[in-house]
């Protein structure tokens, strides 16, 4: 009897293969201050399959960062359930499964660019050299510089290299390309897609650019604010690899217009 390769794989990677990378069930959160309460999230349900690339778009202040932090277990939501690969986020963190790119780069200013990436490798216990990751994001020439000597875009590249060096199964990215120029943005997009296709990781990607979301994702989650909730999940049925040629294709233009309308009417 010949063994079934699919079944074999399923056995060697128990449960996790079919288990969603992210499960959010009626997640709500509010920030309590002395006098005010800000309702940041109201009953958000979301599921991200393993290997799926999901983007979140939404107006500023609609709770995207809050949502991402809840997934990473950095914030305990007031109510609702958060699971990452079928267990609480803490467990995923402990297994080194989370890569995080925060909205601000969050580099250690006393460490050189290379030492910043090395810290990540160190903490995650992953292998690979800091220099090779810097090469991939195109800043290996600046390995010896310190964060205060870098431009905003260069810092974001370091933050990206640092998150990738962790060798994560789930990558959480909060506007990682915000400070980059148009060409670098495109290059980093390709780099990210190549990595995603190669490693079959799951990605949750926050962006303000509808085009960027459409070019990257399997699904675009459109949010609206006060309190933050999901308006609609837009499936992106565009073939890969996606190039700039898509930008003028009817399906793309239609999705782009649809999302823009959603955002406009909710505002």
């Amino acid at each position: 009897m010949t063994s079934n390769p699919v079944a074999d794989r399923a056995q060697s990677a128990p449960a996790t293969a079919s288990m969603p990378a992210i499960t959010l069930e009626s997640v709500a959160h509010q920030y309590e201050a002395e006098r005010t309460t800000v309702r940041a999230l109201a009953a958000v349900d979301l599921s991200v399959a393993p290997g799926e690339f999901v983007s979140i778009v939404g107006p500023s202040g609609c709770g995207k960062t809050t949502l991402l932090r809840a997934v990473a277990g950095l914030l305990e939501p007031a109510s609702g359930r958060v699971e990452v690969f079928g267990s609480p986020p803490r467990t995923a963190r402990r297994n080194g499964a989370l890569g995080l790119v925060t909205q601000e780069p969050g580099l250690m200013p006393w460490r050189s660019v290379e030492a910043n990436v090395r810290l990540a490798i160190d903490l995650a216990g992953s292998d690979g050299s800091a220099t090779s990751w810097l090469e991939r994001v195109g800043i290996d020439r600046y390995a010896g510089l310190y964060p205060r000597e870098l431009s905003g875009g260069m810092k974001q590249r370091v933050a990206l290299a640092r998150a990738l060096a962790v060798d994560p199964r789930l990558l959480l990215m909060d506007e990682p390309f915000g400070a980059l120029d148009e060409l670098s943005r495109e290059a980093m997009r390709l780099e990210l897609l190549a990595l995603w296709e190669r490693e079959r990781i799951s990605v949750l990607f926050v962006t303000h650019s509808i085009r960027e979301a459409l070019l990257l994702s399997d699904r675009v989650v459109v949010m609206s604010g006060s309190p933050g909730r999901i308006l609609e999940e837009v499936a992106v049925d565009l073939s890969r690899p996606r190039t700039d040629a898509l930008l003028t294709e009817p399906a793309f233009v239609e999705s782009e217009r649809h999302i823009r309308d959603l955002l406009r009417t909710s505002a």
Binding site: L74, G96, R136, A187, A194
Partner: protein, 283 residues
């Protein structure tokens, strides 16, 4: 995992590097140094010369205002006396400073990790700070005898609070994004303390040192005034009793020099350690 597929990522535009001859850079540095040191030195020399002429011209009594030359003679005639006294005061000041700084930093670490500890210990610490230190000297004399002990205790007491407050603020003033990043990798408290909180606190620690270094000297000299047993404080008391105003001025000059030298040393170390901080400009 396989890491292949080098991508063609356009690198950020390389900053234009202009070749500068090392000698030119060194010359520029010397010029910059001279620019900050020459004016105050000239001002000081002019002041001293003017003072000398003023005292000579007006024939002002030496016990009121001595001539700078008389002060210089006092220092030259018996340098050993000043060196011994200065060494004693300095030992007490530095002993107190080191003990207080290490202790205050350790306490700040505990307080940074526990709001309960902070709430419990901060008010007593504030109480100690607000108590006039001269009032506790007799107690210290009873506990620590009449040697260097109570002097160290006074210097420690006066420098403890600035370090505690600054270190606590510094340990808490971490970049939230950097903290998120470390926590997402499940870094332990100790790892966060070592790799993030401690380095973040260094600018605040040095700010505290700049305050507490001169304070430690004050503490030591005040203790010597009160005990009258040794050091610069005792030297001043004796000179005062003898109406030996040149010696009095000599003591002031020695103490001022000590203060300036210690502050300079702290500033030098600070520049070396905090090269990465935004407050540091230039080479």
């Amino acid at each position: 995992m396989q890491r292949t597929g080098q991508l063609e990522t356009p690198a950020p535009a390389a900053p234009e590097v202009v070749a500068v001859r090392p000698s030119a850079r060194a010359a520029a540095r010397v010029r910059g140094w001279l620019a900050v040191t020459v004016p105050p030195v000239v001002a000081l020399v002019v002041l001293v010369i003017g003072w000398e002429f003023w005292v000579r011209e007006r024939e002002i009594a030496e016990y009121l205002v001595p001539k700078p030359s008389a002060v210089f003679e006092a220092l030259r005639d018996d340098p050993g006396r000043y060196v011994t006294a200065a060494r004693e005061s300095l030992t007490a000041a530095m002993g107190g400073l080191i003990i207080a700084s290490v202790g205050a930093f350790a306490l700040a670490v505990l307080m940074a990790h526990s709001r309960l500890l902070e709430r419990a210990l901060y008010p007593p610490a504030l109480l100690v700070k607000l108590t006039p230190i001269v009032a506790v000297y007799p107690l210290f004399a009873i506990w620590f005898g009449f040697g260097v002990g109570p002097k160290i205790a006074i210097a420690a007491l006066i420098t403890f609070f600035p370090m505690l407050v600054n270190a606590l603020i510094g340990l808490r003033a971490v970049d939230p994004a950097a903290l998120d990043f470390m926590r997402a990798l499940d870094a332990s408290r100790w790892r966060v303390l070592w790799s993030l909180r401690m380095p973040s606190s260094l600018p605040y620690v040095f700010a505290a040192l700049r305050i507490s270094v001169p304070l430690s000297l004050i503490g030591a000299v005040v203790a010597e005034f009160l005990s009258g047993s040794s050091g610069m404080g005792q030297l001043i008391l004796i000179a005062n009793g003898d109406f030996d105003t040149p010696a009095l001025f000599g003591a002031i000059v020695v103490l001022a020099t000590l203060g300036v030298a210690l502050t300079g040393i702290v500033a030098y170390i600070e520049r070396r350690v905090l090269f990465w901080h935004d407050s540091m400009t230039g080479p």
